[in-house]
Subunit: 599 residues, 2 copies
């Protein structure tokens, strides 16, 4: 496979690949860009819905990020834009506080778009500052165990948040423990929109069916290559096909009830139709406007019954977003860098974490100027991009252009997309996020890491931000406890004690060591990893070593672990990295005995 | 020297030494107890003043702690009671919040005694819980660097808080940065009580003179043993002699102006006299009463002009004390255990940290029942106790009995003690606390530790509690940073890299390792300390190793450090522990080269 080695440490990595650009690259990027575009348009509309924003904000968030990343990014595969996790966090942090007046005329969505846009700008600036100060290592304190707990909780919470759409039910509560009984009671009362229900069930069946078809048949050698290509395309762009189909059905059913170009139903609400359709403000291209951490909106003065302006200043925005300004930038960077590193190892190139921090930061800041909510790397679309054999980050330009065209010409159609269909898209995306493999892996390797995992998972149901914070604090406390209790390595004999104190290696150190090994592999070096000075490793360190050693193996270099103690050896073997452990044992034991005799 | 080995892990260590008790022990304990008693009575009166409590609370805090510790403690030298640091912290946390009504009739001191007593009870209970759960290691996170910064700031703050008493000036502000300009301006305006000023200067001169006399002459061989004994006694009990002298002078000057048994001047206020005297409620033995986290006091209802009851409940107490409930128990334990360990190593016995936690906890809880404010080990009095050759914790019983006698019979005299004299006692005690040696030591050994030291020192001037917290957080952040950046131990050659990752040992681990070594020394073992697995050590770990190795040397056991890398070797040499480093080098380097050739 052709390698595109992007040099790190350059502020504009595009300089390194653009001069080599050719027709073959262009064709690959065009095909990949179109495929990803067909994925991001329905996903964007659905995720905006999840973020409690009008649907067009999903598209506003889908083009500028990829353009900027194309100039600054060091991974060819990753595609920025709205994701399920970010959308859920936006819904969490961007609702207007009760102390602010209600918008007049009433807003069509629960989140405040202006707040979300300012959040995007601030998140981008925070990441830029972290990048300039080279403080990217702080994301290492969000351990893999906490991520597994968070993503698994998010999977359930996101899926659950969409179930009401399948039933066409509106709920008063958003908190899980209040919304769940409310939903159950509404269903038992029979407050179900059967149009929505039928649409939702059919969409889920179609999406799941196409997914299974793709999994089973795309590599079926008995089929002709053309049929296989078609199956791959339909399977990959299944969201687009199902959403278009559902919109056509809705158009056929509802075209007489809705006349959104003329009357109040322009904002397409459920009242106009028997099928709940998509909430959309009159949309076209968003304006280019730098968010200045202050904005106004109109509310109805109750005494005069006149609309008045309510001004929101920087301190109000910052105090409203509060820990969101910690969580959202870090999660954005973490999601993105994790995906980028994964594809970099898979496709044999190198990402520069600090440059990625700058790229994600600037992508968000500039994206905020076109009314985007926070963007990050999307795992599902990056996978589509990579499978489409994208050559350079320029694939993102094609994808972004497609989104712009959709905004220009397709908004009349979007209003007909049934809410239940978008709900089905999100539910299937969210269910697949549940990380049962990650939970089993943690349980098997290093059971102590289950504590932050479970703490994070459980607290997320009360509040998703508190869950992340609780998980991080819990894991840091375990880390501090470990730091305060090193192994004393004591061996006693009559009248003598020898002590060889040593610390373990834990999750914050894992990435740094893995990067060091991967960097050596890039330079074509064989690896000897001497773990004789390590008292213990946890699951994250074990994973990092395993991945880095596998990378060396993949590049046909030798990789050997020596002097591992029994705990370290066991955890590496349990993780399937036993092959790297050298057969021969170190002479350390003999040496120590010899010394003891001498003394 | 006779060793009194107190067995740990016993809930009542007294059981181990009481059966061996004899007349010789009794005489030693009697002499030491009387000497310490002569020190604690003037110090108690002065420290209560520093805690902004009526003077008798210093004595209430001076007897029950030593009684309980006598049953439970594992150190013969330590004496519990009021200390300068605790008194300052009580003044910080036990003033009534502005939202509570003012006491009627007006209180004679700024701190609320009932609040302080409840704080004592809660602090004791918190320590007991920590002891039962074996969580004593958390004090290891208050690093030595933070303690040096805190104690040095406290030294300045405590001295400064007493300067006004030398001038007989009353200030409105308590915060350092507001009180300092106010004091200067009052002095320049000439608002000085010259009686107080003369008294203060004479007391300082006398106290300092007696201290110098003791230092210079107590070991002067040209003097007869009796003269030397007298000098030692006068020097050691100088506070008592100076305070008694000052009280006699005040009595002579003021006896016609004050008639406290009959009229309002019973509470001995400055208005009755030209010399500012001691604030004392009518005092005798305190009642035995368990603080139940709720109490009432009277205030004047402004509309009715009638006194009413104001009830203070548990939640009000807890929210008022807030982080005091974290800082005060930990500082109490830390001060006490540090002193106990110091004397244990000096006098060749062993303290059990968990048992000490229980002992300090229970001492505070029971002391709270006799109206004590929080107590901990006093360095100065423990030193007096040790120098007086105390044999068992029973010395505390004599000392406590003396305090009880003073409370029963001497309170009429205490009212005549000039405030300036007590101020002089505190200033000289506080100045000697300034830890310039500790600052130089940290600077020399491991400069990074200066950051938490300086942060703690500086923030303490704004708020003493915030200073401690800021120092701890700062040091934990440095620790986490270090944990995330282990040494990779990389050595590269053509086409090959060998990595031997290792972590350093930092302050939270220091005590645990030192205790392990000291425990082996107790068992009479020779020590080999193999530091080959340690990438780096900080000043606290260097100190801990040095002390533990010196302990082995003192017990005539061999103690050798091997395989230390250059940083570790240097910091040990800088710390004066170079003698322990073995001349011969490990064969590790050769071994590694051999392996590299083989691969």
């Amino acid at each position: 496979m052709e390698r595109l080695k992007v040099l790190p440490k350059k502020v504009l990595p595009i300089i390194t690949w653009l001069p080599k650009y050719n027709v073959q690259f262009a064709i690959r990027d065009l095909i990949a860009g179109l495929t990803v575009g067909l994925t991001v348009i329905p996903q964007g509309l659905a995720y905006a819905n999840l973020a409690s924003l009008p649907a067009q904000y999903g598209l506003y968030s889908s083009f500028m990020g990829v353009f900027v990343y194309c100039l600054l990014g060091t991974s060819k595969d990753i595609t920025l834009g709205p994701t399920a996790i970010m959308s859920m966090l936006v819904a969490q942090f961007c609702s207007r506080p009760d102390s602010w007046p209600t918008e007049y005329p009433a807003a069509i969505s629960q989140s405040d778009p202006a707040l979300a846009i300012n959040l995007t700008m601030l998140s981008g600036l925070i990441l830029l500052v972290l990048g300039i100060l080279d403080l990217g290592f702080i994301v290492n304190f969000i351990s893999h165990a906490v991520i597994v707990g968070f993503v698994s909780a998010a999977s359930i919470l996101i899926s659950f948040s969409q179930v009401k759409k399948l039933f066409g039910i509106k709920l008063h509560h958003r908190e899980f423990f209040k919304a769940l009984p409310e939903l159950v009671s509404e269903i038992f009362k029979g407050h179900i929109n059967w149009y929505d229900f039928a649409m939702g069930i059919i969409c889920i069946a179609l999406l799941k069916g196409l997914q299974i078809l793709k999994q089973k048949k795309e590599n079926d050698e008995s089929l002709s290559p053309v049929v296989r290509k078609v199956i791959w395309l339909i399977g990959t762009a299944r969201n687009a096909f199902v959403v278009i189909g559902a919109a056509l059905v809705a158009f056929a059913l509802e075209k007489d009830n809705i006349d959104f170009w003329k009357d109040g139903c322009k904002s397409g609400t459920a009242n106009c139709t028997s099928l709940t359709l998509t909430k959309l403000e009159d949309a076209s291209l968003p304006p280019f406007k730098v968010p200045m951490l202050s904005y106004s909106y109109e509310f109805l003065n109750e005494t005069t019954q006149e609309p008045e302006e309510f001004h929101v200043g920087p301190m109000m925005i910052i105090s409203k977003l509060s820990i969101g300004l910690f969580i959202i930038p870090l999660m954005a960077y973490l999601e993105s860098i994790a995906i980028a590193k994964g594809f970099a190892i898979k496709n044999g190139y190198k990402v520069d974490p600090t440059q990625e921090l700058l790229a994600i930061g600037l992508s968000n800041s500039i994206s905020a100027c076109v009314s985007s909510y926070p963007v990050t790397g999307s795992f599902s679309r990056s996978a589509v991009n990579s499978q489409s054999n994208v050559a350079t980050p320029a694939g993102g330009i094609v994808c972004g252009a497609l989104v712009l065209l959709a905004l220009l010409f397709l908004t009349p159609i979007f209003v007909y997309i049934p809410a239940a269909c978008l709900g089905a898209v999100i539910i299937l995306a969210a269910i697949s996020m549940f990380d049962d493999a990650g939970i089993k892996h943690t349980w098997k390797l290093y059971r102590l890491d289950m504590i932050p995992l479970v703490v994070c998972f459980v607290v997320c149901f009360q509040d998703i931000a508190h869950g992340i914070i609780a998980g991080i604090i819990c894991h840091v406390l375990i880390l501090l406890y470990k730091t305060s209790k090193p192994s004393d390595g004591a061996s006693e004999s009559e009248g003598h004690i020898q002590m060889a104190p040593a610390q373990g290696l834990y999750y914050p150190a894992a990435e740094m060591l893995a990067e060091r090994i991967e960097s050596a592999v890039q330079d074509g070096k064989n690896i000897t990893l001497d773990l004789g000075k390590v008292a213990e490793i946890d699951s994250a360190t074990s994973d990092a070593f395993k991945n880095a050693l596998n990378f060396a193996k993949k590049e046909s270099l030798s990789a050997v672990v020596i002097n591992a103690n029994s705990q370290v050896e066991q955890i590496l073997r349990d993780n399937g990295a036993g092959d790297f452990i050298a057969e021969e044992k170190s002479s350390g034991e003999d040496e120590k005995d010899a010394f003891l005799e001498k003394v």
